[in-house]
């Protein structure tokens, strides 16, 4: 019996909401997995902010071209119809509202849509990359994340306590337990694991989960 989704399963669930022909940016790391789970017959166009549209899978080891990398600096390949462009054009795509969806990781998401995903505080070397740009402009900014931190604290919170990446930018959160929309500065529950009670879910969530319409079962295949 599933008690929580794996990262692959969260990525799979997020991938189901990506229509054919959608322009998508996947954040570095965990969000990159979403590309693997596109439903048959759908083909999104993936954007990487370092300057490629319509890149494809990773090349076989030993066949990397180090001029052909994604924002995570991993080697990629190209699909037919790809294009290269410089960073200013690339972030024009991001900031100018041309991407349909950006899917990002998170340390915390607040019920007003605030996102914290770039810094865990003043210690160490700060690094932001394209995170603060990606939360602006995409028509839809979704987050994929475990529902709670490694030590069991809620990641869906009333107010972010970590340094913000963007203000009021997140519209949907896919977690290991649920799918939650952000609407009118509130969390609205859309789907939850069928084995999980609403009370148990609420107990692991840092702000109230509103019910506004049906709550579907979150059913994801074994992967």
């Amino acid at each position: 019996m599933t008690t929580k989704l794996s990262n692959a399963q969260i990525a799979w669930r997020a991938a189901q909401d990506i229509a054919d022909g959608t322009y998508v940016n996947l954040g570095i790391g965990f969000p990159e997995m979403v590309a693997q789970y596109q439903p048959p017959g759908r083909q999104a166009v993936f954007h990487t902010e370092n300057g490629i549209l319509n890149f494809g899978e990773s090349p076989a080891e030993g066949h990397e071209d180090w001029d052909l990398i994604n924002a995570g600096k991993k080697a990629v390949t190209l699909n037919a119809g790809a294009a290269f462009f410089h960073h200013a054009d690339s972030f024009a795509m991001v900031r100018g509202g041309h991407l349909d969806v950006a899917i990002l990781g998170a340390y915390q998401v607040a019920e007003n849509g605030d996102l914290a995903n770039w810094s865990t505080g003043p210690k160490g070397v700060p690094a932001v990359g394209g995170a603060m740009d990606l939360v602006h402009g995409a028509k839809r900014v979704a987050v994929i994340t475990d529902h709670v931190t490694k030590d069991g604290k809620p990641k869906l919170v009333k107010c972010c306590t970590l340094p913000l990446t963007g203000v009021g930018c997140v519209t949907r959160v896919y977690t290991s337990l649920a799918v939650v929309d952000i609407k009118g500065r509130r969390f609205v529950l859309r789907e939850k694991l069928p084995t999980l009670s609403l009370e148990a879910l609420q107990a692991q969530t840092g702000a109230e989960l509103l019910i506004d319409g049906p709550v579907a079962d979150l059913i994801v295949p074994e992967l």
């Binding site: 322009y23 083909q43 549209l53 119809g81 290269f84 972030f91 900031r95 100018g96 602006h136």
Partner: protein, 240 residues
């Protein structure tokens, strides 16, 4: 993904009354004459679209293309840098009669405002027009001891663009100096419709040579032997 459109009429079918429409080209080079004429045909048939705000470097020449659009009374306001041409009668008469509004913008500022619209930059500062009538009423600020004028982005509901080759993803190349405003306008419109001389398969345009990536394009229609404004005007053409 297939952004190709079969007919010119279909390509311009959604442009409504009072829309803001960027029209590509610098003079005749890069001007989407066939798309403009399809829009005029629709106006003849249905009375729409009218009261358009048009963004173009110029105000048309002779009695074809943009000049014909203005001549048919479809344009309420023009945002442009140089409303003169070898035969500017159509615009001049309407302007002097008070039948069309003109927002005059320096050419480089016009280009940058359109780029800003496409790039999500709501405003920027430029030295251009400081101390001139064209900066009247605008915010002025000093940076490093120099004065600059604040300019706003320019966006549109639609862009009508002429390109050379295009694939069904919307990737485009242009022909020589017909590039001009066209890649910028593709970025700045909610819906960008492009006439291309040749539709090619995705991948036929080398990814290094794509000038406008498909993300900026919503529709592509093939017009194999596009007319040139200059040639039409030398022949004294009127549209329709």
């Amino acid at each position: 993904m297939d952004k190709t459109i079969g007919h010119l009429a279909e390509a311009v079918a959604k442009i409504g009354d009072s829309a803001t429409v960027m029209i590509g080209g610098f003079g005749g080079a890069g001007s989407p004459i066939e798309l403009i004429h399809a829009l005029i045909d629709r106006f003849h048939a249905t009375g729409s679209p009218k009261n358009l705000t048009v963004v173009n470097n110029n105000a048309g020449n002779g009695h074809v293309g943009l000049a014909a659009l203005i001549e048919h009374g479809m344009v309420r306001k023009l945002i442009c840098s140089f409303p003169r041409s070898s035969d500017p009668r159509v615009f001049t008469e309407k302007y002097l009669a008070g039948e069309i509004e003109l927002e005059l913008v320096p050419q480089g500022t016009l280009a940058e405002r359109i780029r800003a619209g496409g790039a999500g930059i709501p405003a920027f500062y430029t030295p251009t027009a400081y101390g001139t009538h064209l900066a009247d009423g605008k915010v002025i600020a000093e940076f490093d001891g120099q004065p600059y004028v604040r300019e706003r982005w320019l966006k549109a509901d639609f862009a009508l663009i002429k390109a050379h080759a295009g694939d069904r993803h919307g990737n485009l190349t242009y022909s020589k100096a017909a590039r001009n405003f066209n890649p910028l306008m593709c970025m700045a419109a909610a819906t960008t419709i492009v006439q291309v001389s040749r539709i090619v398969e995705p991948g036929e345009i080398d990814p290094e040579h794509v000038v406008t990536p498909g993300i900026f394009v919503q529709g592509v229609v093939e017009v194999p032997d596009p007319q040139q404004e200059e040639v039409l005007n030398r022949a004294g053409a009127h549209y329709p």
